[in-house]
Symmetry: C2
Subunit: 84 residues, 2 copies
């Protein structure tokens, strides 16, 4: 693997796991008042479409990254609805 591919993989790992600290924070503080519902509706809808796109073109990195992202962002959306 050349350094450009490694750079892309690090970028993908960062953006894919970026929502994890938000999940942990909500579990601790049980508050979501300042978090935008609209943002997570758009994110979850977008990630579902990315996942369908990944499945249709058979792209494993796209499928993997979006399954992980969907777990975190759908959890945040669920918390936002629960604690609103």
């Amino acid at each position: 693997m050349n350094y450009i591919v490694i750079l892309g993989l690090v970028a993908a790992a960062l953006t894919t796991f970026s929502s994890l600290p938000q999940v942990v924070k909500i579990i601790k503080i049980k508050e979501t008042k300042d978090i935008s519902l609209g943002m997570y509706v758009l994110v979850v809808a977008g990630i579902i479409l990315w996942l369908v796109y990944g499945l249709l073109i058979g792209d494993l990195p796209l499928i993997t990254a979006n399954v992980v992202s969907l777990i975190f962002t759908a959890t945040i959306l669920g918390f936002k609805i629960k604690y609103k």
Copy 2:
């Protein structure tokens, strides 16, 4: 364009503009207490790497999407630091 390409473009548009409602919400309420600092540090770092990756491989859609995403997410990170 076939429907798979259109699906990918809609997915990209949704995830790219998803942070906009959060920017608008913070401008209105001037509160970021429930928002995770760690999340936005990871997101901004990840998007900068995606952008560098896009520039290195010369991928215009990747560059465009990540410039837009960077504007929104860096704004949220700035607000998080300002209102913390």
